[in-house]
Point group: C2
Chain length 332, copies 2
């Protein structure tokens, strides 16, 4: 059983996988994940993944057979375990609980070689609807406090399988960065009675120097205090705290904008590795006046990892205004 | 002039290098830093670095000539600029100030090929004394609130030059992770009237399952809620808040322990890239009852960067107890 352990100084929860403890030899040098051409996510290999939890598939095809457009399965090597009780406990100065949670993989397309920005808008819409559906289902489990949806594109961004996929982790705690955003947003709301994200959107719209793209309901910006070169955020222009509560048309519009932004990044930076992460309010909270869901897209261009991890101190060599100007100029 | 910009939501300060804004082409693919054999840090090339700020050198040799054992110079491409005023200001919802600070490089040895764990204890002691001396000097400048000392070993850990060196950044703000540690430590002290780090040391000493090495005045542990496989901390066993206030004998003892720990990591993990970061109290504060300086050593073994950066959520596949057992067993 994995464990969730709390850092006693700063209060950050960490998952410790107590079962698959790597030995030193496993870490030596680069891992080689060339699977000799075999891909468990390709059509025909459905029996090589855990059973299907959700799918979009052609009529009259059976679950766990071919004929699908998108599949969601449990991660074969889950970081957290779905069965069991939390059993929160202390151990002297330390706090821990069982590593209970869900860890799912969204296999975004049957096509092994297609990347996210190359999908049709229909396909991206389908992916977003799958995210929504999984959140609405897992939300019913009161053990879970947060659902994290993210994508690692490319090995340097943490992807271990080539076939394009995203991941979902449902956790019994709210991750540290989300807690910080919630606390910061609340501080602003307490003083101003306005959402800080709404304030940012208003100011960015006026100044226009960091707006990459604007649609009817969304704005995409390079954030003022970006940690990374070419970091891009997508936010709904009207206040909304939960990603999973959109109507269908809004997912479709978001799909179009995601395709646009990811294509710009791909073209401007020569198909960089990247991560995107959906930041949404905790699932058990009702609508929140002070929090605003958004997507953060982080191309992985610099190699300054450990120091930043250790200090929380970021040096960004590309001003967001410069990144924005370049991204705007990309032509298709 | 670089800018320090504050994230309006979570309050994190970031350095934006507004002068050397990379163009997209600079980021495409891996950077190649093979310098064709030329190294600005090697003896004989003293005129290829900014002038010496500090050195240990043989008697009757001139500054900026050969004959040195260690040199400290300004970073040729500093993230922050030493001259000027802070000029804190607002811009609507955003806060910023001038990027004032010091960014220095400690050239640890004249030997191009020797790595930190291969130095003699004398040499490591000299490096630690150089850190101390630079902190004591920069501390006099009241514009600076914090001094960050760190080492990137290996390209994957962010080193851009092969010749072994460490870095110092003096900043007009306290970095986010330090603020969090200070806040967490204060919370504990307010309730318990004890230092949280002292409590951790006491408990680790008793349980012994995460103690890698113990000397008269230091303890080295794999932390209970380690974010990374084989993360190791070194802490003084007696309460002490500022790294720069040790007496000479304590630096020497620390040098011996650092050599021991870094050699164990090197042997166990096949000379991995790593970072170490000295966590010390803010320089303008007097002795602090609640904070305890320490060194965090983070081998760079996993590639899960962007997601963790984005969420603050870490999955550690190697329990610290397993890492500790392996590190203890290393024989020389």
């Amino acid at each position: 059983m994995p464990e969730l352990r709390k850092d006693p100084i700063i209060g950050r929860w960490v998952i410790i996988s107590t079962e698959r403890g790597q030995r030193p030899s496993d870490w030596s040098g680069e891992k080689n994940d060339k699977s000799g051409g075999f891909c468990p996510f390709c059509p025909g290999n459905e029996d090589k993944t855990p059973p299907e939890i959700f799918s979009f598939r052609q009529k009259s095809t059976e679950p766990n057979s071919s004929g699908w457009d998108l599949r969601v399965v449990s991660n074969k090597f889950p970081a957290l375990q779905i069965e069991g009780e939390l059993k929160r406990r202390g151990k002297g100065v330390y706090d821990l609980m069982n590593g209970i949670g869900a860890h799912e993989v969204i296999i975004e397309s049957p096509d092994h070689y297609r990347e996210f920005n190359d999908y049709t808008i229909d396909q991206i819409e389908m992916i977003l609807l799958a995210y929504q559906s999984r959140i609405l289902d897992l939300k019913k489990d009161s053990r879970f406090k947060y659902i994290l949806i993210f994508k690692n594109q490319g090995r340097a961004a943490g992807a271990s399988l080539e076939h394009s996929h995203s991941q979902l982790i449902a956790t019994p705690i709210v991750p540290k960065n989300v807690l910080e955003e919630l606390a910061g947003a609340k501080r602003h709301f307490d003083i101003k009675e306005r959402c800080i994200f709404c304030d940012i959107i208003r100011q960015e719209n006026e100044s226009d120097e960091r707006v990459v793209a604007l649609t009817e309901n969304y704005i995409s910006i390079t954030p003022f205090a970006a940690r990374f070169p070419y970091e891009v955020w997508i936010l709904p222009r009207s206040h909304s705290s939960h990603f999973e509560n959109l109507d269908r048309q809004k997912y479709r519009e978001l799909a179009g904008l995601m395709k646009d932004i990811l294509s710009r990044l791909s073209k401007a930076l020569d198909a960089p590795p990247y991560n995107f992460i959906i930041h949404s309010a905790p699932i058990q909270n009702g609508d929140m006046e002070e929090y605003h869901w958004h997507i953060e897209i982080i191309p992985k261009l610099t190699k300054v990892a450990g120091f930043e991890w250790g200090s929380g101190f970021y040096i960004n060599p590309t001003p967001p205004e410069t990144a924005c100007a370049h991204l705007r100029k990309v032509s298709f």
